[in-house]
C-alpha cells in the first residue's frame, strides 16, 4: 500500500510539472495556442449564425485556427506525452484526472449533460481573442455576440453539431484527453491497437493512437438533430407517438415532435430545438448519455425499493426502461429493467397486445383467468380485467 501511495505521488508530480512549466517560454506559447484552436473554430461558427457581420469574422477565425493548431495544440500534447513516458505511471495519472473531472461534474451539478458548457467555457477563460469578438458583436446589438437562439449556449454561437464536427481530424482537446470511458462501458467502447476512446461533453471520441487525431465521434445523446439547431419543417407534423403523449404534451411555449426515435422539444417561436429526448425503442440506452432533464430521481414507486441511488450508480426512469447511470458522466452503464411505454391503468381498455395471459408463474394459482375475470401483468403490477368489456377494472397486486 505504501508503495502504491508513493507511485501515486510520483504520478501526481508528473502532472503538476507540465502545468508549472506553462507560463514560461515555448511551452507557454504552445499552451496559449491550444486554447485558441478551439475558440477560433467558435469564431467560425459565429460567422455561420450571424450573417453578414460574421462573414468577416469567419475568415479571421479560420486563419487563426489553422495557425494555432500548428504551433500550439501539437506542442502541448507533445509535452504531455513526454511527461507520461519518462515517469511511467500513465494509468495513475489518468485515474487522477478522471477523479478531478468527476469532482467538477459534481460541482457543476448536471451541467455535464448539457452540450458545450463546462469544459468549453473553461477554455475561454483567459482568451483575449474571443472576448474581442464578443465585444464587437455586442456593439452591433446581438446577445453575447450571437443570434438569440445560439447565445445561451455560450460556445461562440456555433450550433453544437457543427462545433463537434469541426473537431474531426484534429487533435483531441486537452479537456477531453482525460475523459476516460467509465469502466462499465469500456467493453462497449473498447480500445484497439490503433485507436482508443475518450469521452467529453456528450460525445465519444475515437482517437488515433499514432497521432492523437480524432478519427470519428459518436453523439451519445441519441444522435439526430441537436439542441440549438433549427428543427426541420417537414417533421413539424410528426407528432409524438400516442403512448408517449401524456409524457410530452404541447404547451404554448414548448412543442414536442418526433423524428427517428427521438422526441424533440421545440421553441414554437424560433423553431429551435431546445431538448432532445431519445426514446428507448429508437435505441436509447447502454453507453449513451442520459439527458440533463433526468437529473432528479424518478423511478416509479413500485420499483423504488429495488432501484435507489448509491455512490456508484444512479437509477433513472425514462419511457421504456429504468437505467443504471454513472453519476459522474451521466452515461448509461446498464439497463436495469425494461418497462412498457404504455402501462395499464384502471378504467382503461386493455391495449392491443395483451390478449395472452402473462401472470408470473408464482402467482398463477392465485390469479387464473376465469370467465368473469382476466388477470394481466404489466410493469410490476397484476391487473384485473373484465373479459366482456375488456376494461381494466382494478389493480390487484404489486409484485416488486
Amino acid at each position: 500500500m505504501t508503495r502504491f501511495f508513493l507511485a501515486a505521488g510520483v504520478a501526481a508530480l508528473a502532472i503538476t510539472a507540465p502545468v508549472a512549466a506553462k507560463p514560461g517560454g515555448g511551452g507557454g506559447g504552445g499552451d496559449h495556442g491550444g486554447g485558441h484552436s478551439a475558440e477560433a473554430s467558435h469564431g467560425g461558427g459565429g460567422g455561420h449564425g450571424g450573417g453578414n457581420n460574421a462573414q468577416a469574422m469567419r475568415g479571421g477565425g479560420g486563419f487563426n485556427s489553422a495557425k494555432v493548431e500548428r504551433h500550439g495544440g501539437g506542442q502541448r500534447f507533445a509535452n504531455f506525452d513526454r511527461g507520461g513516458k519518462s515517469r511511467g505511471g500513465q494509468s495513475e495519472r489518468h485515474a487522477f484526472k478522471a477523479e478531478r473531472h468527476a469532482f467538477k461534474a459534481e460541482r457543476n451539478g448536471n451541467h455535464t449533460a448539457r452540450f458545450d458548457r463546462g469544459d468549453r467555457r473553461d477554455l475561454r477563460g483567459d482568451n483575449r481573442f474571443d472576448n474581442r469578438i464578443g465585444d464587437r458583436f455586442a456593439s452591433r446589438g446581438l446577445i453575447d455576440g450571437c443570434p438569440p437562439g445560439l447565445a445561451k449556449k455560450h460556445n461562440g454561437c456555433m450550433p453544437p453539431g457543427q462545433l463537434k464536427n469541426s473537431l474531426l481530424g484534429q487533435q483531441i482537446p486537452l479537456a477531453y484527453r482525460n475523459g476516460i470511458v467509465p469502466l462499465a462501458l469500456q467493453g462497449l467502447y473498447a480500445d484497439t491497437p490503433n485507436s482508443y476512446y475518450r469521452y467529453g461533453d456528450g460525445y465519444m471520441y475515437q482517437v488515433n493512437r499514432q497521432n492523437n487525431l480524432i478519427e470519428s465521434l459518436l453523439p451519445l445523446l441519441g444522435g439526430g438533430y441537436l439542441p440549438g439547431q433549427q428543427f426541420p419543417s417537414n417533421y413539424m407534423n410528426s407528432y409524438v407517438p400516442s403512448y408517449y403523449q401524456s409524457f410530452y404534451p404541447d404547451t404554448s411555449d414548448n412543442y414536442y415532435r418526433y423524428a427517428n426515435g427521438n422526441v424533440y422539444g421545440i421553441d414554437p417561436y424560433s423553431g429551435m430545438i431546445d431538448n432532445v429526448i431519445p426514446m428507448y425503442a429508437g435505441g436509447y440506452g447502454y453507453g449513451q448519455m442520459l439527458p440533463s432533464s433526468y437529473s432528479a430521481y424518478n423511478v416509479p414507486y413500485q420499483y423504488r425499493s429495488m432501484y435507489y441511488d448509491t455512490a456508484d450508480s444512479y437509477y433513472r426512469y425514462a419511457p421504456g426502461a429504468i437505467y443504471q447511470v454513472d453519476p459522474s458522466t451521466s452515461l448509461i452503464t446498464a439497463v436495469a429493467s425494461l418497462l412498457t411505454g404504455n402501462g395499464l391503468s384502471v378504467g382503461q381498455r386493455l391495449p392491443t397486445g395483451y390478449s395472452a395471459y402473462n401472470v408470473p408463474l408464482a402467482y398463477r394459482d392465485q390469479y387464473a383467468d376465469t370467465s368473469d375475470a382476466w388477470y394481466r401483468y404489466n410493469n410490476g403490477y397484476i391487473y384485473q380485467v373484465d373479459p366482456t368489456s375488456q376494461v381494466v377494472t382494478s389493480l390487484i397486486r404489486a409484485l416488486v
Binding site: 505521488g9 485515474a95 487522477f96 469500456q186 426515435g261 435505441g283 452503464t333 429493467s337 395472452a356 408463474l361
Partner: protein
C-alpha cells in the same frame, strides 16, 4: 507545493482502489441489479439460463440487456437460435458489434422481449380466443402476431417475417424463454 501534492496522491489512490471495485462489478452479469432486485429475480434467471456463448446472449450483452435479464422482470424472451442469426447477412450482424449500430440492435432485441410470463399454452389460448391470431405487445413498443401452423406457434413481425417456436417453455425464476428459428425485425422508426 508539497501541500498540494499530498491530497492529489490520496485522490489518485482512492480512485484507483475504487476502480478495482468497479472492475469486479462490471464483469458480473447482474451488475445493474441491487441486492433487493437480485432476490426478487430468484436464483435461476433468464440471463443465467441462456447459453452464455450463444449469439443471442452475445448480442444482448453488447446492448447492455444481459443485466436486464438478470433482474426481477418478469419477461418472456423469444431467443433466436444460432442458426437464425446465421441466416442474416454477415454485414448486418457484423455491424451490430459497433457502438454506432447499437441503437438498431437494441430495437431488434427489445422486439424479442415481452412483458410478463407468457407460456406457449397462453399464446395458444389467446390464438383460439382471437379467432386464429393473437397480437403480442413487445418491450420495444411494436407488436408481434401469433398464429398456429401445423401444431406449432408461428410469430410474424411487422414486415411479414416469420419465426417458428421450436423450443417452448424454458421456465426461469424471472420469466420464460421460447427458442425460435428466425430473427424478427421491428418496423423501422
Amino acid at each position: 507545493m508539497t501541500k498540494f501534492v499530498v491530497p492529489l496522491a490520496i485522490a489518485a489512490a482512492a480512485l484507483a482502489l475504487g476502480a478495482c471495485d468497479q472492475g469486479k462489478k462490471a464483469s458480473e452479469p447482474g451488475a445493474a441489479q441491487t441486492g433487493e432486485a437480485k432476490n426478487a429475480a430468484g436464483e435461476k434467471t433468464i440471463a443465467g439460463g441462456l447459453d452464455q456463448n450463444s449469439r443471442f446472449f452475445t448480442a444482448a450483452k453488447s446492448a447492455g440487456l444481459d443485466a436486464t435479464l438478470a433482474g426481477p422482470g418478469p419477461y418472456t424472451v423469444l431467443a433466436p437460435d444460432d442458426a437464425a442469426f446465421a441466416k442474416l447477412p454477415k454485414a448486418t450482424t457484423d455491424a451490430w458489434a459497433k457502438p454506432e449500430s447499437r441503437a438498431q440492435l437494441t430495437g431488434i432485441l427489445t422486439y424479442h422481449i415481452l412483458p410478463g410470463t407468457i407460456l406457449a399454452d397462453d399464446i395458444g389460448k389467446a390464438i383460439d380466443n382471437g379467432k386464429g391470431k393473437a397480437v403480442l405487445a413487445t418491450m420495444g413498443g411494436g407488436t408481434l402476431t401469433a398464429t398456429r401452423e401445423g401444431g406449432k406457434i408461428v410469430l410474424t413481425d411487422s414486415a411479414g417475417g416469420k419465426a417458428i417456436v421450436t423450443g417452448p417453455d424454458e421456465k426461469r425464476s424471472n420469466g420464460v424463454v421460447h427458442t425460435i428459428d428466425a430473427v424478427l425485425m421491428p418496423a423501422k422508426a
